[in-house]
């Protein structure tokens, strides 16, 4: 791979004088991007394709829909359902909280350092995921976590007695928010910056109240980027495994953890069902991203 990357542009050197190369120009030009496409095919597209094809085959290699149909068994459906719920809840809550923070730092009249500090911190926190994040929340809201203990000793509130558990839907959602909110702040702040001052002045000149301005200008303009980002956050949470695995072991049966167990030890006793499980994940995140691309093209019209 390493050598090919540099030698191929060199091979394309003959294409330099465009006038002389004539009809040969196009294929030689492609040599320059060949390493990239070979890499993408070998290590991104073919492996995924292999699983997708496997999802529609039986052991003899014949076409079948049986694997997809067996995804509908209750235990697997439950796994998909809890994954979708956690991803959706953390995406929507994360997007709303992130939007509120972005609006506060851009248009709230706060000092400049607040904005730059928030942006810097968001860059860090949106990349602070995986196993260490699970440790942080166990130390905070686990049975011996600081917040759990302080609530019990200071206010006599036993959150575990009230039914809270960090190893649950609510606990996992709360943990995921730690990277979802900052990601929203990072993505949406430029969109809020894009709200032009002139629009507010124009609306005010035409006699609009502040509420009307928000309802009829700001929300419609931000809506596509907001929805698009919610979808991105959804896909982000849906594929995440490390945090959940370190937090809950395998006690919370979300799809990536089920797939992880399947890859390690064929717990479903059917390799092709594993492929189908992977296909289901790609299908859901892929569908989400189709919407994302669609919303993004709509939002770019206004925020150039």
């Amino acid at each position: 791979m390493t050598d090919a990357t540099f030698s191929d542009p060199a091979a394309a050197r003959q294409s330099v004088p465009p006038a002389r190369a004539g009809g040969l120009r196009l294929p030689l030009q492609w040599l320059g991007v060949a390493p990239f496409f070979i890499f993408a095919l070998m290590f991104l597209i073919f492996p995924t394709f292999y699983l997708v094809v496997g999802a529609f085959q039986n052991d003899q290699g014949e076409f079948t829909l049986a694997n997809i149909a067996s995804l509908l068994q209750p235990s697997i459906l439950a796994a998909y359902w809890i994954s979708i719920r956690v991803s959706l809840a953390s995406a929507v809550l994360g997007a709303l909280a992130g939007l509120a923070i972005s609006i506060a730092i851009v248009r709230g009249g706060l000092p400049r350092w607040v904005r730059s500090a928030t942006m810097t911190f968001s860059g860090v926190a949106s990349n602070f995921a995986g196993v260490p994040l699970a440790f942080a929340f166990l130390a905070t809201l686990g049975r011996l976590g600081l917040v759990t203990v302080l609530l019990r000793t200071w206010f006599d509130i036993n959150i575990y007695g009230l039914g809270f558990n960090i190893l649950s839907f609510a606990g996992l959602t709360l943990t995921y928010l730690f990277f979802q909110i900052p990601l929203m702040v990072v993505i949406i702040t430029p969109a809020i910056d894009g709200l032009k001052k002139e629009w507010g002045e124009a609306a005010a000149t035409l006699g609009a109240t502040q509420v009307q301005f928000w309802r009829m200008v700001v929300i419609p303009v931000l809506w596509p980027s907001f929805l698009g980002t919610v979808i991105l956050l959804f896909a982000n949470a849906f594929g995440a495994i490390a945090t959940a695995y370190a937090l809950t072991g395998s006690s919370l049966n979300i799809v990536p953890i089920l797939l992880y167990a399947q890859i390690r030890g064929d717990v479903l006793h059917n390799p092709h069902l594993g492929y189908a499980l992977a296909f289901g994940m790609i299908f859901i995140t892929g569908l989400a991203n189709v919407f994302y691309i669609w919303f993004r093209t709509r939002s770019e019209r206004w925020l150039k």
């Binding site: 320059g32 492996p47 009249g109 594929g239 072991g249 991203n289």
Partner: protein
């Protein structure tokens, strides 16, 4: 203006509380190893652990090779597309976004099935081959960030003029990319490199499923078996992420801001 500022401060304070309480709690927890008093014992145990040193060194090496693969893959491609093939830019951009759509666990599952010991390309037959496959997998994960960073860097230089000037002086493509383009986008490349490092250093899924002794699986293992060390490791990991992002911020200050390239 007054009420709006109040709500802004309140929102900011609530957000700050949500983000700082877990960090403070984790730090406090990591100091509690010695009964009855605060100490840095947990950190001493962690840093003294041979497996910590080994797995961290392993992940650091893997991260460095991942960055090299990423740069070799992305810089010539992004350059060539800017120079010669702007028409295929949407296709390439779409491919670089695919790792955000296809979860890492699915990609590595595909690798395990496609590159097993009795396949035409048996990466997984040897330890060295598995290491290479892990680096490739990480390069794939980092592709969206690396490509965007480099492409943004290329936007600020006049690729065409630089290339023609170099060609007039008789430079070949390798010379142009290594000695003209790369130094000009070095800051962008470094930003991408540090982001790659932050992603790779604690990655769990791929390393664990390929059975390599990386830092991520080590973290998971400690988390399942120890009480105070995980909190110390979380603080260390946060510091590493913070360090990488700070470097990127500092680098951004040196990056050329104006786009003198009309296209």
């Amino acid at each position: 203006m007054k009420p709006s500022r109040f709500w802004a401060w309140l929102t900011f304070a609530l957000g700050a509380a949500y983000f700082f309480i877990p960090l403070i709690a984790t730090f406090e927890f990591s100091l509690r190893m010695r009964r009855g008093e605060y100490s840095f014992d947990a950190y001493r145990v962690v840093f003294g652990d041979v497996r910590f040193q080994e797995t961290f060194a392993y992940s650091t090496i893997i991260a460095c090779f991942t960055i090299v693969i990423g740069v070799l893959l992305v810089v010539p491609t992004a350059y060539w597309i800017r120079l010669r093939m702007p028409q295929i830019r949407p296709v390439v951009e779409f491919i670089t976004l695919l790792p955000l759509i296809i979860p890492a666990i699915v990609i590595v599952f595909g690798y395990i099935r496609m590159y097993g010991s009795n396949s035409p390309l048996p990466f997984l037959a040897t330890t060295r081959g598995t290491d290479v496959l892990l680096m490739i997998g990480y390069a794939t994960l980092a592709l969206p960030y690396m490509y965007r960073a480099v492409d943004t860097g290329l936007r600020t230089i006049d690729v065409r003029t630089l290339t023609e000037a170099a060609q007039v002086h008789g430079a070949g493509w390798t010379t142009i990319i290594v000695r003209i383009i790369l130094p000009n986008v070095l800051i962008a490349v470094l930003s991408g490199a540090f982001l790659t490092f932050a992603i790779v250093i604690g990655e769990f899924t791929m390393a664990s499923l390929l059975n390599r002794p990386a830092f991520g699986p080590y973290l998971q293992n400690i988390g399942a078996n120890r009480a105070y060390e995980p909190a110390a490791l979380a603080v260390i990991s946060f510091a590493i992420t913070w360090g990488c992002m700070s470097v990127i911020q500092v680098l951004a200050r040196f990056a050329p801001k104006s786009a003198n390239n009309p296209n």
